[in-house]
Amino acid sequence: MNLTLDIAWTHVRARVRQTGFAVAGVATGVGFSIMMAALMQGSQDDFTNRLVNTLPHITVSDERRAPPPQPAETLYPAAKIYGLTPEARRRGIKNPLATMAALEAWIPGGVAPSVKVQGIIRYANHDVATTITGIDPRREAQVSDLPKQMRGATLNALYRATNAIVIGDRLAEKIGARIGSNITVQTSEGVRISAQVVGFFHSGVRQVDESTAYVLTKTGQILSQQTGLINELRLRLSDPLVSREVAARIETETGYKSVSWQEAHEDLLSTFIIRNIIMYTVVGAILLVASFGTYNIISTITHEKARDIAIMKSLGLSEFTVRTIFVIEAMIIGIAGGLMGFLLGYLMSVALGSIKITNPFLDSDHLPLAYSYLHYLLAGMVALVSSVAAGYGPARKAARLHPVEIIRGAT
């Protein structure tokens, strides 16, 4: 074994109890940080997955980001004109089939047309504001998990009855509707139809399950009083993470407002950033406290070993060698603590994941946990770096000890 490593190992081994406490401190820090990271990342992934799976990755609506400039504004750009009323445009995406075909040519994923209408569902003295989306059941699997989220029927049940409707399970629960119930759907434009509930769906996102209903495209067009209307194209990409870039390109090419799922939930995603900052701050604080233990043990060892340091220096070991010995001791504590922390973190994560939790906001009865080697790598690296940093100060001080002062003190 290398001399410096041999001496460092001997020092550490000779103080089993003290070293054990320092290692336990680092292991606790690493273990808790891994468990916290698994929990935070797990809940974030779970939520993000539900968002991504429930909603389209990109929604192209018939709106524009900014109202089109008025002819008068174009003609007199230097003038400030007051009292102009925006031009009334016919609703819907122009040439939806051609637009879809153009998008399908380059988009890595599927596109489905739909009609979105805001309305009220009435049943048994309950009035619930609902977003009613007219869809094509045959294309729906390309853009959402709705076919998989169906309860009690398949999506093709929409073809079974005139004005068939599929509603969220929480909405059904709220109004007391069952399969076969005839409910009234009324839009803000005054159209009122009677629709038969042919199935429920459960997305896992409470807001969606409480206030969304699906009908056939044709029914949607009836509700919006416009034949052939398509006011929304919904897209699902093979890689949801590129949605923002694809949405920007669609908007540039078509001129229609194109919103990625990240943009639609920017507020939620920004809270994840804050949450992660909090998490890493807490984890950092835990590991910092653990590094105090390392500092303490290395300081104690260097203090106790002052005489040995003097001996080694008098024999001819350089300051660098002496410093290296104590830095290695800190590394041994960091590595041992890190490895024990990996085991502790894994076991705590497994234990946490096995606890049964009943939560109305969660579909699963267990906490969502993410197991990633990155959590282990990060916690291990931070533990090692903080241990070495904590050990470096005392090691440097030890290496600078003047042997004569110690030899004189000893004699």
């Binding site: 001399l3 001496i7 008098s314 024999l315 001819g316 350089s318």
Partner: protein
């Protein structure tokens, strides 16, 4: 290791002064000039506080003079950096202190191996062979795996001598090597040191307060208040 010319001093101090800084600066060694040749057996004596050990530490590069120069084999060590001084100590000087100063967690064998491992001049097998040889020659062949606290005072000091000899340095610097030993162990250690000079051609510089021992050595330097007050250069070795 290069041979030195007969006229060249192995260790030389030129007008060396060491002052400890502080509110009241303390002069430990004052204007000392001396030359120690190869194969000398030198005693440094003097009353407590006369600067014996301080001079030894300066000659052994453990301390730096405030003014003056210390030369080892003709090379000025005052301007060497810490690494170079450490290497010089490791390869050319061996230390024996009053208290054995062995590493307590290491075995006798490992303590003797330590300087050789640090220098790395010999192969591991050759290092082991030499450690066994030295400890055997000093009558410690049966104690290789013992720890220092399992040995008597005299045995520990002999281990310290073996460690000092590990890298075959031409000079052994001993600070009160028999100071903490009974008369029997003291005699054994003295005999070992004398044999190093007379049988193995080493140079031994030993600080001692025991005038009886000093009288039996080849050269006797006496210090008072940090200055050399006598340097008996031509004393013959006392008969065993």
């Amino acid at each position: 290791m290069s041979e030195i010319a007969p006229s060249e001093a192995l260790i030389e101090a030129r007008n060396v002064t060491r002052i400890l800084p502080g509110i009241v600066p303390t002069t430990l060694v004052q204007d000392v000039t001396l030359r120690i040749q190869a194969n000398e057996f030198v005693a440094i004596t003097g009353p407590s506080g006369s600067g014996k050990s301080s001079l030894l530490y300066l000659l052994g590069l453990l301390d730096l003079p405030t003014t003056g120069e210390v030369l080892i084999r003709g090379r000025d060590t005052t301007h060497m950096d810490e690494e170079e001084r450490a290497f010089t100590r490791l390869s050319l000087l061996g230390f024996v202190f009053q208290f054995h100063f062995l590493l307590p967690e290491f075995t006798v064998f490992d303590n003797v191996m330590l300087p050789m491992r640090a220098l790395g001049r010999l192969s591991t097998e050759a290092q082991r062979e030499r450690a066994r040889y030295l400890l055997g020659a000093l009558g410690l062949g049966d104690h290789l795996t013992k720890r220092p606290d399992q040995l008597s005072g005299g045995q520990r000091q002999r281990v310290a001598v073996a460690r000092a000899l590990a890298n075959e340095p031409p000079v052994i610097l001993a600070d009160e090597p028999t100071g903490s030993l009974d008369s029997k162990s003291s005699g054994q250690v003295f005999d070992v040191l004398r044999a190093l000079v007379h049988e193995h051609g080493k140079t031994v510089v030993a600080v001692t307060h025991d005038l009886g021992l000093a009288e039996r050595m080849d050269r006797h330097i006496e210090l008072l208040d940090g200055r050399i007050v006598s340097d008996d250069l031509h004393r013959l070795a006392a008969s065993p």
